[in-house]
């Protein structure tokens, strides 16, 4: 169970990395943490002919820039639990990342790697979609920006084109006093989610002013549901109709079946986790009334 042969290249800067990727072509992949790519290579499910090691790039900033926070593509998952900027503005990153595999893997896995890998159940992809993040990608052709809602096409498939690297995730800071919630259901702690749900509630005068609910594990990429979000607006924080919101979200989609869970069970979990997330986010937003 070992990889097929490949050539190894080490990039010392972002410019060098994208130049290498452009030159080497479609059979070149960037190597960041490697904990998603290398298992696939060892199993011979992926056979890149070239690996461009981008670990020397740095690119691991977490900075507040006015109304947004910018996270570099090489931010390792273990940073979220300890970064003070992020914990204040986006508490869900710490919470969600605690569900990513195990401590040794979290110390190595990267944000850009996770987003580019696009596992349908990935926690960080879910948060990118929840927070309406923008993914900035770099290539030899320059830089372009892709809204999170358009980035994840389907399982392991993104809007990334050949030669593009995830350089940064930009997330607009939620209004102060917003309520955040994250729930994940998996067989064992750290396993890929069967269903994960994240919610963000902005309140005004005791009522929901804006609601965002995102779900991973239902379909081949994380999803939002505009109908559910609209229906929640105007509800009181005390009785937001979380149960109905859950049922509405679950009824609107036909979740996948696999060896972990049937479609029926997933549907039930969607309803249940949406309910819990709405209740918790509303409770967290209550202080802002």
């Amino acid at each position: 169970m070992r990889s097929a042969p490949f050539e190894y290249h080490r990039a010392e800067s972002l410019d060098q990395a994208v130049d290498l990727l452009a030159t080497l072509g479609e059979d070149a992949r960037p190597l960041a943490g490697g904990y998603s790519l290398v298992p696939m290579m060892n199993l011979r499910l992926a056979r890149p002919e070239h690996l461009v090691d981008i670990n020397p790039l740095g690119l691991d900033h977490i900075v507040r820039d006015g109304a947004v926070v910018r996270l570099g593509g090489l931010v390792r998952h273990s940073r979220y639990a300890v970064d003070t900027t992020l914990r204040k503005t986006f508490p869900l990153f710490a919470e969600a990342s605690s569900h990513i595999a195990h401590p040794v893997i979290r110390r190595r896995g990267t944000l850009g790697g996770s987003l580019a890998h696009a596992d349908p159940t990935a926690e960080l992809a879910l948060l990118a979609v929840l927070y309406d993040g923008v993914i900035h990608v770099s290539s030899a052709r320059g830089r372009r920006s892709i809204p999170a809602g358009e980035f994840f096409k389907s399982a392991f498939t993104t809007a990334l084109q050949a030669g593009e690297l995830v350089a940064e995730l930009e997330v607009p800071v939620p209004a102060t006093g917003s309520g955040h919630a994250f729930f994940e259901f998996s067989e064992r702690k750290g396993d890929f989610a069967i269903i994960a749900v994240a919610a963000l509630i902005r309140a005004a005068k005791g009522r929901i002013a804006e609601a965002r609910i995102a779900c991973a594990g239902a379909l081949s990429a994380p999803i939002r549901d505009a109908n559910v979000e609209v229906a929640l607006v105007g509800q009181s924080l005390e009785t937001p109709g979380a149960l109905e919101a859950g049922h509405m979200f679950a009824a609107a989609h036909d979740p996948m079946s696999d060896i972990r869970a049937t479609s029926h069970y997933r549907r039930h979990l969607i309803a249940e986790l949406v309910r819990r997330a709405v209740e918790k986010a509303c409770a967290g937003a209550g202080g802002a009334a």
Binding site: M1, R2, F185, E187, K189, I259, R260, A261, H268, E272
Partner: protein, 786 residues
């Protein structure tokens, strides 16, 4: 000097393991650490179809990779096979060829052997072997395989049964007609793999200098492997050496003989070079052995006092595509039939058991073998009956439990002394607060707590007659040991048992130390190498402590006798009692008259003139220990406390309690370790470890992302309590215990879930989806909504 006669007793002490330093410091030598000069690496091209005829095997692209590449196929290994049969007419003959002979019967079956100078290249080349398949009808499970008109897996078979037989005792018809209550249920346990953390591996090398073929294998049965290779390859056993190095877990998985082992030996002879094969994880999951896929239909008959009168059982096991050596496809189903009577007192029993052939990985012996599934059915049935009759489940068991010993059960097996009722009462007392909480949360819509018990016995340390009965290729139960004291007074124990985590280097040292009056640190235990150890059937069947310990005790006692005789002679105290302890031999009556044991040892080897008249030189003995005819029976009760989130289906295992009795305990620390390790594997069997095949028998769980093992956060503290009821049947009074931990958890957890939800759990696994489905039926909800 006047020292009191200290005889620190080693048996029963929590001696830290003498073998630990090499494992802790990374010095241990496992199979992949064996490196030989000019060694070739083997990769195996395996079938990608579940059932097919093989046409052409195209090896051109593989060979084109380089001059070092060689490929062998079934055409080169005609007639070589692993043949596992039981000698009675109800068994149909089958064998697994080393390399497929024109037909493959499960995904993963070896088709071609590819050799290269390094393992990466071998894997590259194996990926370039192209096999032409002509698909045949797939037998995906018991139902299809048994259906009328199903094609047979082997030419000449009358149906797809490796074996079908009966076991019976007493008058079941009478029990049935006398019954006031009858209960009939079907229970199923799912398929899983065994998964030691170290995969299998073999290295073989022929040395022309001494004309010896050496085979290293990560095996639990080195002597049996030697005999098998000798017979199959027609190679004299005196010129064949099999070595089990340090082994990274066996659990019975490595207690089989595999085609890969014979293949590597054969390739070493063919090429004249050392050959190494190291299994990878995917191969292990799809092509080593599987376990536990059972279906049992039980019918119990009870009188008006809720006492069991009789039990009828119909037992099917999905045995996969081949019968495994040495226990054969009869092993799992036959064992279920044999152990179903369990610890309960009833006089009529009839069991029909069968091993069914399907296009899956062969089933073999994995910790507990047929017992976890048997106990699942037995203990689920006890709870189901209790629930039906409105009885407390523990009271119902106590009403039917065996209390007088020795007890001859309905099949004629004799149970030696045990603590069945006592262990049940004790466990119930430990669980009192949880039982109360379970009652309080009985109708909760949020979180329910459930408590479940499993009470079982385990036949261990089987003696020769037990094997003779089975008529399978493993004929005997004895164990033997050679004990020798060196001139410096240190002790060498050589035993054919093979240690793969059980701590034999410590426990057997403790046994020898006690008999010889030295410390365990002065005893070196050698095992696993057929060149230096007496013949043994290996380590499995919970036999190591009882039989291995028994053999060491006897041999050491013989040497001790000689030491005493020399001491008496040198102390001019012939005929007086000599005691050995703390490195000295002293007169029992007058300990001030003593002599160092090391002194005696030197004399025995080097100063023959100082020995008693007529005594020969040396200080060594070889002794054997056969198991009791019916083995010796350990007993245990497992109890599980589960917490179920009624809204999500999440099951949390809050508490797990074991009360166990394995007779005299040699090293409590090691016993606790064996119990806990077994329990966690049992928890894995109940909740996580499911091997899944598609409808056309393609394996779907081929790595650890899909095949889930219990990890530390999922496991509660496992509380272990001991009762020690010594058995008169083994030299030390010890019974076996290696597998016990793995036998009870599925039953206990399933009973706890049934208790929490008020529904009868009939199958495993109890993963999240299964729990949720049970919740739906418990609360009367439909599948699609509230």
């Amino acid at each position: 000097m006047s020292r009191t006669l200290e005889r620190p007793k080693s048996i029963g002490a929590r001696v830290h393991r003498l073998e630990d330093p090499r494992f802790l410091s990374g010095r241990a030598r496992y199979i992949d650490d064996i490196r030989r000069p000019r060694m070739l690496h083997l990769a195996i091209a395996r079938s990608q179809e579940a059932h097919a005829r093989i046409g052409e095997i195209d090896v051109e692209s593989a060979l084109a990779l380089g001059d070092d590449i060689r490929v062998f196929t079934g055409a080169d290994t005609v007639g070589l096979a692993v043949t596992a049969n039981a000698e009675y007419p109800e068994v149909q003959f089958s064998q697994q060829p080393l390399l497929a002979q024109g037909r493959v019967r499960f995904v993963g079956e070896p088709v071609a052997a590819v050799l290269a100078d390094d393992p990466y290249r071998a894997e590259d080349a194996a990926g370039l072997v192209f096999i032409d398949y002509e698909n045949l009808t797939v037998l995906p499970g018991i139902a299809v395989a048994r259906a009328e008109g199903a094609p047979t897996l082997f030419d000449g078979w009358r149906n797809n049964l490796f074996v079908e037989r009966q076991m019976k005792g007493g008058d079941l018809a009478a029990a049935r007609s006398a019954a006031v209550h009858t209960m009939r249920r079907t229970y199923r346990t799912h398929r899983q793999a065994g998964v030691p953390l170290e995969c299998r591996g073999v290295v073989a090398e022929y040395d022309p200098a001494d004309e010896t073929l050496t085979v290293w294998s990560s095996t639990q049965i080195p002597h049996l492997l030697r005999t098998y290779i000798s017979e199959e390859l027609e190679w004299p056993e005196t010129r064949l050496r099999v070595v089990a190095p340090d082994v990274g877990g066996g659990f019975g998985v490595k207690g089989q003989i595999f085609v890969e082992e014979i293949l590597v030996a054969w390739l070493a002879l063919q090429t004249g070079r050392a050959v190494k094969w190291i299994e990878d994880r995917r191969e292990h999951l799809i092509a080593s052995i599987h376990a536990r896929e059972h279906e049992h239909t039980l019918e119990a008959y009870l009188d008006g006092d809720c006492r069991l009168l009789g039990l009828q059982a119909d037992i099917s096991v999905d045995c996969g595509a081949y019968s495994t050596w040495p226990f054969t496809a009869a092993s799992d189903p036959g064992m279920v039939a044999k152990v179903l009577p369990g610890p309960y007192d009833f006089g009529a029993y009839e069991a029909t058991f069968r091993g069914v052939a399907t296009n899956k990985c062969p089933v073999g012996t994995y910790r507990g073998v047929g017992r976890p599934s048997a106990v699942f059915s037995q203990e689920r049935l006890m709870d189901d009956i209790a629930a039906e009759l409105g009885l407390d489940p523990v009271d119902f068991r106590l009403r039917n439990i065996i209390r007088r010993f020795p007890f001859k059960n309905v099949l004629g097996f004799t149970y030696d002394e045990g603590s069945y009722a006592e262990s049940l009462e004790k466990t119930r007392a430990f669980l009192a607060p949880d039982i109360a909480e379970a009652r309080r949360t009985r109708s909760s819509d949020e979180v329910r707590v459930g408590v479940g018990f499993a009470c079982f016995i385990e036949q261990t340390a089987h003696g020769t007659p037990d094997f003779t009965r089975r008529r399978v290729p493993i004929e005997t139960g004895y164990e033997s040991a050679r004990v020798e004291m060196m001139p410096d007074g240190s002790v060498l124990v050589e035993i054919g048992l093979q240690n793969h985590g059980q701590g034999h280097e410590t426990t057997l040292a403790q046994v020898a130390a006690d008999a010889l009056g030295v410390t365990p640190q002065e005893v070196r235990v050698r095992h696993g190498d057929t060149l230096t150890t007496p013949y043994s059937v290996g380590t499995w069947g919970s036999r190591g402590g009882a039989l291995g310990g028994g053999a060491v005790h006897r041999a050491a006692t013989e040497v001790a006798g000689k030491l005493r005789a020399i001491a008496a002679h040198l102390l001019q105290a012939e005929g007086q009692e000599i005691v050995l302890g703390a490195g000295y031999a002293a007169l029992a009556e007058d300990p001030d008259r003593h002599i160092e044991i090391a002194h005696l040892a030197r004399a025995a080897h080097r100063n023959l003139e100082r020995l008693p008249e007529g005594m020969g030189p040396g200080l060594a003995a070889l002794a054997g220990c056969d198991g009791p005819a019916d083995g010796t029976y350990s007993n245990a009760v497992h109890a599980a406390v589960v917490e179920i989130d009624m809204n999500s289906g999440k099951l949390t295992l809050r508490r797990f309690v074991v009360v166990e009795d394995c007779g005299v305990i040699i090293n409590p620390m090691i016993v606790d370790g064996q119990v806990r390790g077994g329990v966690v594997q049992g928890i894995g069997s109940a909740l996580f470890e499911q091997f899944v095949y598609s409808e056309d028998c393609q394996p779907l769980t081929t790595n650890f992302a899909d095949y889930l093992l219990p990890a530390a956060p999922e496991i509660p503290d496992i509380e272990v309590h001991h009762i020690e009821t010594p058995t008169p049947l083994t030299p030390l009074g010890a019974k076996g215990l290696g597998e016990g931990g793995a036998i009870g958890p599925a039953a206990a957890i399933a009973n706890a879930v049934s208790n929490a939800l008020g529904v009868s759990v009939a199958e495993t696994p109890l993963n999240a989806n299964a729990i949720w489905t049970l919740i739906q039926s418990a609360t009367g909800r439909s599948e699609t909504g509230e």
